[in-house]
């Protein structure tokens, strides 16, 4: 029988071998042909962990930290470890209900899985943190507090130019230009101000740690002993030209007022202070209530997120007159002794434009005309400039005039190191053609000579023009950052280069400066006199109209003052704009005087204390804006920024 069936041995061997060959073929496919499995295995086991370096600190000119990092706390949850805890108490501390509690647990579960910690409540307020820390033992091991660095602003000022950071937006992540390729969802990036301009420097270099993890997502150590890891490098610190005491004083002075202050050191172009009034505490945009606060600030009636010193442009009014004078002098259409017989108005263009003065001789020469701010004189200078025979036509003359304005930094960005700078408006020929349908002459926009009409300057441009006059023809591109710690890159070189403006002679500057000195000594800006220091300045009052409910309404004038001091060794150039506040002597001049005195003498003299108090208390908001604005209540809840209050007490002498 067995002999009979012996051939079946072969059949059985064939079945066995055949089956094994099927297995071999399958293994060949899985292990040799198909390559996706090793990628899938890596995806299973590798964990990429980003190590965030601390962002760079920003110091003022005396090394005081204006923006630094502070440790706040996130409450982390590991869902699987949450059991037998007093959820009611937790909800009470966090101010949430049971439904929200369960929702957050579910979110954490979905995001990182049940065994890995994820954020339950981010950036706890100090109050919540205090309560939780005391009772943390009740909630462990499911919950834990984890430190997280956030930006803090000890002085509570500078929100408009320091900027804020936020998580990168989906739009940035989808950007195909490669600009944001280094960022991942959840990373922070500078959105505005210096945080944005110097993002690369402040951010430092993120470290990456490659870990291996097990099937429950628990890290199991470094991948291959950490050979792929890169260490985190802390962000570099910035040193600003800013004087934090001046900034604190400026922001306090602009409380209750809409406007701008820009102060520049003419010798370096460094920004000493830049205030956008009214301002808000930058700590509001860092920490637990950021999203809510940002929403309020963006919709507030006084538009605190609008950085007026570089984004708003105003008709410069009479502060334009020194510039008009300079252009006329340089074009050679007049000499400093040129006089104009103004009888209380200008009538050479058909209609009679009123001047504030009518006494004979108030415009006998450049100096007198500036000191008395004669409208007729400067309208006439403008016309002489653009109609100068050597240009052979008003269009060419106008183009030449605008060329001067551009050289002064008008009608273009100055190049300051924060984003979103406005160019302002200049009456270039293209604009003139558009406004006047190609038919125009020197009379059409003669108001440009006295700073009205098709002219709009940002406060930064006006302050920069003061630098040019103070330096007698040169300036440095205005900038905040003077140096970067441990940095040898060339990014700041452009701010160190002296810029010369056209070829205007020192004599021309000196004759204009004499007039500006008289403005302070005996003219409209007598309030800006400081004992022992020669201050040169020019007041301005800019008419402005607005369209309200479809009707063009004449609003209260903007009050402007530009100045620099001391006359022969300029240390500060200043522009103050207070919107809709009437004559400049009421607000702009006293505010400028307080800032000048603070900066140049490091204190406010006793005799100026009453005006200081008056300025701090003044409120120029129109009633409906004031009623609707939530800014003051928002600023009052901010818990940081206490250093600013210390400085104010020192200035006030309390």
């Amino acid at each position: 029988m067995s002999v009979f069936n012996q051939s079946r041995r072969r059949v059985i061997q064939f079945i066995m071998l055949g089956t094994v060959l099927v297995i071999v073929a399958r293994l060949f496919f899985l292990q040799v042909v198909e390559t996706k499995y090793s990628k899938l295995a890596d995806a299973n086991a590798h964990l990429r962990k980003v190590i965030y370096p601390s962002r760079g600190i920003v110091y003022d000119r005396h090394g005081r930290p204006v923006m630094r990092n502070e440790a706040l706390y996130d409450l982390m949850v590991t869902p699987i470890n949450v059991k037998n805890i007093d959820t009611a108490y937790m909800c009470e501390v966090l101010n949430i209900d049971m439904k929200e509690f369960n929702r957050r647990i579910q979110v954490a579960r979905n995001r990182e899985g049940p065994r890995r910690p994820s954020v339950f409540s981010s950036l706890l307020s100090p109050d919540m943190y205090g309560k939780l820390q005391e009772s943390m033992y009740l909630f462990q091991p499911g919950f834990e507090l984890v430190q997280r660095p956030v930006r803090s602003y000890p002085y509570g000022v500078g929100a408009n130019f320091l900027g804020y950071i936020s998580e990168v937006s989906p739009g940035m992540l989808n950007d195909t230009s490669g600009k944001y390729s280094a960022y991942q969802q959840g990373d922070y990036i500078g959105m505005t101000g210096l945080e944005r301009t110097y993002e690369d420097i402040l951010m430092g270099q993120r470290g990456i740690q490659y870990l291996v993890k097990d099937n429950l997502n628990r890290p199991q150590g470094a991948l291959e002993g950490g050979i792929f890891d890169t260490a985190a490098i802390a962000g570099k610190n910035l040193r600003l030209a800013l004087d934090i005491e001046l900034q604190v004083l400026g922001e306090n002075l602009m409380k209750g007022k809409i406007g701008s202050i820009v102060a520049i050191d003419p010798k370096t172009g460094g920004i000493l202070t830049m205030v956008s009034g009214p301002s808000f505490d930058p700590n509001l945009l860092s920490g637990s209530n950021k999203a809510r606060n940002l929403g309020i600030l963006l919709t507030d009636t006084v538009k605190p997120m609008f950085n007026r010193p570089i984004q708003a442009y105003y008709p410069p009014g009479s502060t334009m007159k020194p510039i008009t004078g300079l252009i006329a002098l340089d074009e050679g259409v007049i000499t400093p002794s040129f006089g104009f017989n103004c009888r209380g108005g200008y009538g050479l263009c058909g209609r009679f434009s009123r001047c504030l003065h009518s006494n004979p001789g108030h415009a006998a020469n450049m100096r007198a005309a500036l000191a008395n701010s004669c409208n007729s004189y400067f309208m006439h200078l403008y016309r002489l400039s653009v109609d100068a025979p050597k240009w052979g036509g008003v269009k060419k003359g106008q183009a030449k005039f605008v060329e001067y304005l551009n050289a002064m930094g008008f009608g273009r960005q100055t190049g300051i190191d924060i984003p979103s700078e406005s160019r302002g408006v200049v009456p270039d020929t293209a604009r003139m053609n558009r406004v006047y349908n190609n038919v125009w002459n020197s009379c059409s926009e003669m108001y440009v000579g006295m700073g009205q009409g098709q002219l709009g300057l940002t406060p930064l441009q006006m302050a920069n023009a003061m630098c040019i006059i103070a330096n007698r023809g040169s300036y440095y591109i205005p900038h905040f950052v003077e140096s970067v710690d441990n940095d040898n890159s060339k990014i700041l070189d452009k701010y160190k280069k002296k810029q010369t403006v056209a070829h205007i002679s020192t004599e021309s500057f000196n004759s204009v400066i004499l007039g500006m000195e008289d403005v302070v000594k005996q003219g409209t800006a007598r309030g800006a006199q400081i004992e022992g220091i020669d201050v040169c300045g020019k007041t301005g009052t800019a008419e402005n109209k607005a369209r309200i409910n479809g009707k063009v309404v004449q609003l209260k004038d903007h009050s402007l003052f530009v100045c620099f001091a001391p006359k022969d060794d300029p240390k500060i150039a200043l522009c103050v704009v207070v919107e809709n506040s009437g004559f400049s002597t009421t607000y702009a001049v006293p505010i400028a005087a307080l800032l000048l005195e603070k900066y140049l003498t490091d204190s406010i003299s006793v005799k100026r204390k009453p005006i200081l108090q008056k300025m701090l208390d003044a409120n120029t908001f129109s009633p409906e804006i004031k009623h609707k604005s939530k800014l003051d209540s928002l600023n009052s809840v901010s818990y940081a920024g206490a250093e600013g209050a210390v400085i104010m007490r020192k200035i006030l002498g309390h």
Partner: protein, 428 residues
Amino acid sequence: MNRSQAKLTAGIDWPVLGMYLALVFIGFLAIFAAEYREGDQVIQNILSQNKNWARQVLWFGVSIVLASGIWLTDSKFFTATANLFYAFGILLLLVVLAIGTGVKGSNSWLELGGFRFQPAEFTKLCTALALAKYISAMETDFTKLRSRLIAVAMVIVPLGIIILQNETGLALVYLAFFLVMYREGLPGVLLVIAFSSIVLVLSALLVDKFILLYIFTGVAALAVYFNRFQIRRNKSRLAFIVGIWAFCASFVMHVVPFVFSNVLKDYHVRRIYVMLGKENDPKATYNTRQSMIAIGSGGFWGKGYLKGTQTRFDFVPEQSTDFIFCTIGEDFGFVGSMIFLGIYVSLLFRIIFIAERQRSTFSRVYAYSVASIIFFHLAINIMMTIGLAPVIGIPLPLVSYGGSSLMTFTMLIFIMLRLDADRQMVLR
């Protein structure tokens, strides 16, 4: 000393012994790799027996004692007690069915003083012995239907009890005995029918049953057409064709759907669907998927011993028992897998060679049983890990962690070696 040693090992088949030791050693390495974590105290693990690989060393020690005992036993003992073994095995299975301890849904474990034991593993040995004894008995004529039915019944009884214990995988292995019976004269057409049934079941699951019905009908019509002259002479041929058509049609239309909805458990059905790629639920496909990732990521040369992330970080389930092949595939790659399979195939062929050189039917039937059982375990287990078979929980012989399994296979192989050593003695 030398003489007694020579006498002690006389007649042992060294290749089988060598391959046995090689596979147990590879198994130990794989279990170690699946469990070892950097920083583990190896010595302490052995002393406290808190790791599978450490316990496997102990099981190996016990197995060596058992093997030595078997080697020192007279081979007549096994022929004499084969039926007793069988009766004892069936009794154990029934006891387990009554008082067994549940592990992961099955009810096949017996707990004795802290040790767990799975009689279903052990009864394979009993059945092999009893079947060998029955077929080799003088009064048995295996060409007779009655003898064949009795032999089949001897296999079906333990198989049925084990299915009742919810160990479908282990029960499936008992089908290995049909291969043995085929060798001893069971008609080859049964193998064809078995193979066709598998094809029918798979096509019933993969293709719409009405399309299959049209195909069967078309094939039957063609068969009738081409056989029309023979059919005119012999009507039984028509009946045969129609009979096959009716069988196939009813199988696809009624039997398969009925079995899938009424006989098989829900998880069985899902596992089969996972294998066929018709199930997309990540939870259901997780095991097979992770197992295939582990083996596939090994690549040609493997990741190196103890370097596999899939096994070291527990992505593969049951990795020291049912999915032990993942560790080999991941750490040693295609090359290692080939060497590993090579050892197995050599072992199987060596056992068949041994079987055919036996003079006694008992020894031959028994040796074929050993080869078939090992083959079924190997095929089902490895095909499961690479997605060619549904997830069926059976161990890889000599390699997977587990005392019952290692001891059973050791006994299976060493009884065969003992019988082989005594092959000159005509047992019956």
